[in-house]
Amino acid sequence: MIKIIKPLNTTRRTLVAVLMMTAIVLPGSLFAQRNDDNARYSALLTRLESLKQEATLVEDILQIQRLGRSFGFYLDKGYFGEAADLFTDSGRVQYGMDGVYIGRDRIQELFTRHGGGSMNAGPGLPFGRLNLHMQLQPLVTVADDGRTASARWREWALLGNYKEQAQWGDAIQENDYIKEGGVWKISAMRFYTNFVAPYEGGWASLQPVFGNWQSEVARSFRPDQPAPGNYRPFPSVYTPPYHYANDRRAISAPGPIALRRRPNDVLGQLEANADAQELKLARLHSARAVENLQAMYGYYIDKGKWTEAASLFSEDGVWEFGQRGQYIGRDSIRRGLALMGPEGLESGQLNNYPMLQPVIHVSEDNSRAWGRFRSDVMLARNGTGQWGGGVYENEYINDNGTWRISKQHYWVTFWGDYDQGWTGAGIIPMAPASTTNPPDAPPSVVYQSFPNTYVVPFHYDHPVTGEPHNDMGRLTADQAAGRNVR
């Protein structure tokens, strides 16, 4: 008996112990598990909403870029009614010192008159009329509620009448936008003409403007309201107000992201999916923030705002320009920038550095970025105009959610006087390192600008093949390293 009972007893004792443990511990842990799952589930719902908002923000930036670019494409070809349709019912255009025009009909007529179209015909332009208005360098800030936005744009225009005149146009726009019924529209355009200059002689030939400089259009087509305040165009130096003067949202994005391990259960799979979306959206947002950051730098350089421009760099940031050498750290960078002129520029100085053609790549963890840009520059000082051109290969760093420039390198393609540009004897070689305001380090690469040519090395692999740019293997070592002398 005992021999039989004893094993039974032991088994039973063990069974009871296990069941008691299970009864006490397992339901406890399952309750905890359930509470934990509930928390994970509701956290996912919350995250989903914030990820949707993040996607909406990037979509908003693209849509506002699309509005501005469409505006340019419509003016180019005399689609003035279509341009006016981009505005709200009570949309406003403040045009230079002409005044303010309110409502789509008035806006259509304003641009029709400026562009040389006809209010009696449909879209189009007369023979011989050139009205190309390139809309460049968007810097878009979307408000926190996602219902309004502001953007700064640069307009570079080619204007003229065949066999009569050819003109360059230069302007800044500071625009407001509103989302009505899910559609972004322009609610206000502040169009700050800087100059309309004859091709012959260029902007450096312009004389200072005195008195009323309203356009011919405004004299016969009166505005609905006078222009608020007053400013004078080039050769005076005027800085249209920055909508982002105290607002850095345009260069903000989520901080660096480390991928997390998730439990191998249903919720864990959803969490991993949300993690992947979060990272992708963060990198897309960051690419737009870097585009805005480089635009912001350009808009400061335009007006000699060296201190503001230097503040966009990381503390140990590097600024390198042509063969002038490298300036390291914000104080040094400000010294380097001042090689271009006094803070705020001097009267008659033009220092337009448009930031164009961005190719931006953000690192896998959203902590760093690389950007290739182009800047073809319009300059003037002491009554002399210049053209210049070059390519940037820059590096950026995500400083806890604010993007900063960690390395800026402008490779000069050509520099020339206005009259002959790059076509003849007007070529100007690159300036060497300054002796009065020397750099912290010599140029990182030695090369010569036009008429010598070279390839600025690409920070990225070919977008289709995924391989390094295969022409590079076919170029000479000097060309590939950016030192061609051929």
């Binding site: 359930r34 070809k77 332009l125 091709y199 040519t453 051929r486």
Partner: protein, 261 residues
């Protein structure tokens, strides 16, 4: 029965009772757990979350698509700058086409290479030759299925020949997850020399025999650039009204030739 046996029997009784209580407790708790789980996350809720995340991933992918196509188009410009024809022709699909100005249509990426290498000069930058092709103002529209895209853009040319301004209305396709150029169509708006700019000294267009190599197909449209008026059709509707672009009005006066339908 000795005390030991009695004790054992009692213990067994207690154990039996405990066993029943434990089992009951366990069953009750687990029932409760199942009911509780049903109240927090049903399979339907989890599926709804899953499909919301999938919808979001499509939006994310479209944003990624726009960025990749911008990079493709802008890289094209950087390649032209320095005559990087291998990199340039690698942007195309095998059967993609190129049509610039009035030169006609070149079919296949090998002919794209030939157009550049024969027509514009050998691979690599050359001394005293500037061919900067700045890429501006890209408007990218992705198809609903995410497999094709269209782009309107500008090339602002600063070259040894002077100034140039042309549009692009290009098509792209996604092949095995990679965006490629399917059609590059670049109608001229204005080309002029440097000396006096576009007041005169205008190139109104090119034509198939203007320089080698010859095209595979004649131009898809006959037009004259500035000082005449030609507008390349817009691939996208007005972003505010959603209406397609109306045709231009010949009464506006600048048209030289219409688009051949």
């Amino acid at each position: 029965m000795n005390t030991f046996k009695l004790l054992t029997k009692k213990t067994n009784l207690i154990q039996n009772k405990l066993l029943k209580v434990s089992l009951l407790f366990l069953v009750t708790c687990n029932l409760g757990l199942v009911t509780g789980a049903a109240l927090s996350q049903t399979p339907a809720q989890l599926e709804a979350l899953q499909s919301e995340l999938e919808a979001l991933s499509i939006r994310t992918e479209r944003l990624q698509d726009v960025e990749e196509i911008e990079i493709l188009q802008r890289s094209y410009g950087y390649y032209v700058d320095k005559s990087l024809w291998y990199s340039l022709h690698d942007l195309w699909t095998e059967d993609g086409t190129l049509e610039i100005g009035g030169r006609g249509v070149f079919t296949g990426k090998d002919r794209v290479f030939e157009y550049m290498n024969v027509g514009l000069g050998p691979v690599g930058p050359a001394r005293n030759l500037l061919v900067d092709h700045q890429q501006f103002q890209n408007i990218v529209t992705i198809s609903a299925d995410g497999q094709s895209a269209e782009l309107r853009g500008i090339a602002m040319v600063m070259s040894s020949g002077g100034w140039g301004h042309c549009y692009y209305e290009n098509d792209f396709v996604k092949e095995n997850g990679v965006w490629k150029m399917k059609t590059l169509h670049g109608p001229f708006n204005m080309y002029s020399g440097y000396d006096i700019g576009w007041v005169d000294n205008i190139i109104i267009n090119t034509w198939p025999a203007k320089f080698p190599p010859p095209p595979d197909l004649p131009p898809s449209v006959i037009y004259l650039a500035y000082p005449s008026y030609y507008v390349e059709p817009y691939h996208y509707p007005n972003p505010v009204t959603g209406a397609p672009m109306p045709p231009h009005d010949p009464a506006a006066g600048g048209e030289a030739f219409g688009r051949e339908q």
